[in-house]
């Protein structure tokens, strides 16, 4: 948050703005900037219709077996049923969609997609917006539990729980941002460190009886240790290869957790993980509990509020450390590494150690988040650490804008909050019938959002970079100038 908030003087010059540069490059590419002569309206309509009809035909051919015919196990044999209505609806949707796309974008002399591109706010507006948004969001986050209890006491617990979930993902996003956004190392197995943190805490609590506050730093250290263990062999790999190996590492951790039944409990997981205490006070109904100590009436929501503030503090710690590290030589070396590894080596930077620190620090925050996850749930199993978690965290970082702290916040709220909103869209059941379950379309919407963002802002919501140091004034650097790492 503070990343965008702490800037010096506002930029008077918007540097390296993507659109201007792209227009300039297109002009310099050798093709004369010919404006296509707009065809007559009838011609466009006819062509669009023809094209849409062709696409509809292809859909019919493809869908004939996949959509039109369905086999079911009947009595003694397979029964084939025809679903022509279904097929016709699908073809009609494709026809209409293609026609609209043709008329509005592909063949239109004034494609509306250009207008959408212009909607992207300029670097300057983002700059001021970011500086205001940071403190406002922070104040909002601090006051949230009380606001929620004040305005919706009935569903207060649910909302605070959702806020905790979102903050967990924000923290994970910020942790992964160190590795992917700053150091430019594509890590598809971040969930492994999340799992290491969660299991470290759960197992330490189970075998030694330590509480949350003792285990939290230990879990972070263990995760960092595993980050280094993983880092040593794989950091000589680049780009796609690194991504594949980290993906495999994430799966390995999960599979070991499933199969090492005697130690980890295997697929049954670990239950009865202790809850965090407030300076030794437990959130219980009896006399030694927090409620009794403060003379409050016992309410289960107290514990949720406490959890909320723990994860808020952990997330802010992640942000603070990242923010501080960016201004130190190590952070600058991470970014330089993302820009050009060979140049780094020619300047005497030990690239292996630099990458390892990024991996270890990112992993450490993943471990913190994991141990918080364990204490919040009270129960963990390998089910919680599948690849899709890594994908969601990475999606949050990429959608938010690589390296941008506030972008990660926005993306996490939209993605995690959005899924939750889907659960509560009861009015959709009135439209589509009682069997309609909006959450089933979660992944579809997820994918659509991804495509829209990638078309609209290919470098993520907030993609410009703030320099780590300035002589006179900090000017944001347009995303088109900033490398995304790994030899591209």
């Amino acid at each position: 948050m503070a990343d965008e908030a702490v800037g010096s003087v506002a930029s008077t010059k918007a540097l390296g703005e993507q659109r201007d540069v792209e227009a300039w490059r297109a002009a310099a590419a050798g093709e004369p900037p010919v404006h296509a002569v707009p065809k007559q309206g009838g011609g466009i309509l006819m062509e669009s219709l023809k094209d849409a009809a062709l696409v509809a035909l292809i859909t019919t051919a493809l869908g004939f077996f996949f959509l039109g015919l369905r086999t079911e196990l009947g009595v003694g044999a397979l029964e084939m049923t025809a679903r022509w209505r279904f097929l016709i609806i699908a073809v009609a949707i494709v026809f209409a969609g293609r026609l609209l796309l043709n008329l509005l974008i592909f063949r239109s002399p004034h494609p509306i997609s250009l207008g959408i591109g212009r909607l992207a706010p300029s670097i300057q507006t983002l700059d001021t917006l970011g500086r205001i948004a940071g403190p406002v969001l922070l104040l909002f986050a601090l006051a949230l539990p009380f606001l929620v209890l004040e305005f919706t006491p009935a569903r207060g617990r649910q909302f605070i729980d959702l806020a905790i979930l979102i903050l967990t993902y924000i923290m994970l996003g910020w942790g992964l941002n160190i590795v992917v956004g700053l150091a430019g190392l594509l890590d598809l197995g971040y969930v492994a460190f999340y799992a290491v943190g969660a299991y470290s805490f759960a197992l330490l609590a189970q075998y030694t009886g330590f509480g949350f506050w003792v285990c939290l730093p230990l879990a972070g250290m263990l995760a960092a240790f595993w980050g280094i263990i993983l880092g040593f062999p794989v950091l000589r790999l680049r780009g796609d290869y690194l991504a594949i190996v980290t993906l495999a590492f994430g799966e390995m951790v999960r599979i070991i957790l499933i199969n090492w039944q005697e130690f980890t409990g295997g697929p049954n997981g670990i239950s009865g993980i202790p809850k965090p205490s407030l300076f030794g006070l437990e959130f219980t109904r009896d006399e030694g509990g927090v409620a009794a100590f403060f003379g409050l009436e016992y309410a289960s929501v107290h514990r949720f509020i406490w959890l909320y503030y723990i994860i808020l503090a952990l997330a802010l710690l992640t942000n603070f450390v990242t923010h501080r590290l960016r201004r130190l030589p190590i952070g600058r070396a991470w970014e330089a590494l993302r820009e050009d590894e060979i140049a780094c080596r020619s300047l005497g930077i030990n690239t292996r150690n630099t990458k390892l620190t990024a991996f270890a620090i990112g992993a450490m925050f993943g471990g913190f988040a994991g141990s918080f996850f364990a204490t919040r749930q009270g129960f963990i199993s390998p089910e919680s650490f599948t690849f899709i978690e890594s994908a969601i965290i990475l999606a949050i970082v990429v959608l938010g804008g690589l390296g941008s702290q506030i972008g990660v916040v926005c993306a996490a709220i939209v993605m995690i909050g959005g899924i939750e909103v889907l659960r509560n869209l009861d009015f959709l059941k009135d439209i589509f019938g009682p069997t309609f379950e909006p959450t089933h379309y979660r992944m579809l919407i997820f994918g659509l959002a991804m495509v829209v963002i990638m078309v609209w802002k290919p470098r993520g919501l907030i993609s410009s970079r703030v320099p780590s140091i300035a002589l006179r004034e900090k000017k944001r650097i347009g995303a088109d100038l900033v490398a995304q790492g790994e030899g591209r």
Partner: protein, 315 residues
């Protein structure tokens, strides 16, 4: 070569870099074959030759980006420690040895980042490798990474905001500003490096290398793509680096105007083999160099070869 002159040339009496029997093979291709030369302390030494002669390969071997197949590359700090120390070091398994300010480094044994940091050899690249998305000032601070890491007690002191780190950082910024003023980029310190014009990017890359505080600066075609005025500015900058900072320069260059004007010593390569070595005047009139650069007509080949043989016999 310099027979008859009263004192031996500087690259023999006081070398900073000695390349001995360097051979680099890529599969069956011998890119550099048994190359030996020295670069003098405080000299601007040029490495020239037609395209594909192996110049950049030599550079990559010297700066540790390639591990040579055979040969020894010695970097000498101060007065060096004498041939005995080099022999002893070679026999031992160590990378380098130092006594006070004098030190000997065996570059073929050292990884690239250690060559830059310990042996104090900085380099630039043929295709400019700046950190484009970082500002000009940030580029120059990244170059001072190792010193700043030590000053920030490997990040711990930096996180705690110790005053010693702040002093070191201010000194680093000061050094960066000094160099930016030298190359007329002080007013663009906060702009992204990729936004600079080409000539300025070349100059910035050289000063970024200078910010690592090197003793030997290796430049791979620093004048490529520069116009006449920019080339002249480059010459001036290189002379300034040599005269004011006492940094020796080793450069690869195709622009003969630059080479002949500023070089104290020229080494000519062709097909990975040294064909000439000496001061500018000597190299310019060497028939082998002329033949390598301009080529000879088919019917003249025999004649030229005969002339070369007689020349070699006379030497």
């Amino acid at each position: 070569m310099a027979a008859g002159s009263p004192s031996p040339p500087r690259w023999e009496s006081s070398p900073i870099l000695k390349v001995e029997h360097l051979t680099m093979r890529f599969g069956g291709l011998v890119a550099v074959g048994d190359l030996s030369f020295s670069a003098g302390r405080g000299d601007i030494t040029a490495l020239i030759g037609p395209n594909g002669a192996g110049k950049t390969t030599v550079f990559n071997c010297v700066t540790g980006f390639y591990k040579p197949t055979e040969g020894r590359i010695i970097m000498l700090h101060g007065s060096g420690l004498g041939p005995d120390a080099v022999r002893k070091l070679t026999g031992s398994g160590h990378h380098w040895t130092a006594e006070g300010a004098d030190a000997v480094f065996l570059l073929e044994r050292m990884p690239d980042h250690e060559i830059a940091w310990r042996a104090k050899i900085a380099r630039t690249f043929q295709n400019i490798r700046l950190f484009g998305g970082m500002t000009v000032l940030e580029n120059l601070l990244v170059a001072q990474h190792n010193e700043l890491m030590i000053a920030s007690s490997y990040t711990v002191g930096g996180i705690l905001m110790l005053p010693s780190y702040h002093r070191a950082r201010d000194a680093a910024v000061e050094r960066a500003v000094y160099w930016l003023e030298r190359i007329d980029l002080a007013d663009r310190a906060d702009d992204p490096a990729a936004d600079l014009p080409y000539g300025a990017q070349r100059r910035l890359e050289i000063t970024r290398a200078m910010c690592t505080n090197p003793q030997l600066l290796c430049l791979d075609e620093p004048a490529a793509g520069l116009n006449a005025r920019e080339s002249a500015e480059l010459n001036e900058l290189l002379r300034f680096i040599r005269d004011e900072h006492g940094v020796s320069v080793l450069l690869i260059e195709h622009d003969m105007g630059v080479v002949m004007e500023i070089s104290d010593h020229i080494v000519v390569l062709d097909y990975g083999v040294k064909i000439s070595d000496g001061a500018a005047a000597h190299v310019r009139n060497d028939p082998k160099v002329i033949a390598a650069y301009l080529g000879v007509e088919d019917e003249e080949v025999g004649e030229v070869e005969k002339r070369l043989e007689t020349l070699e016999g006379a030497e």
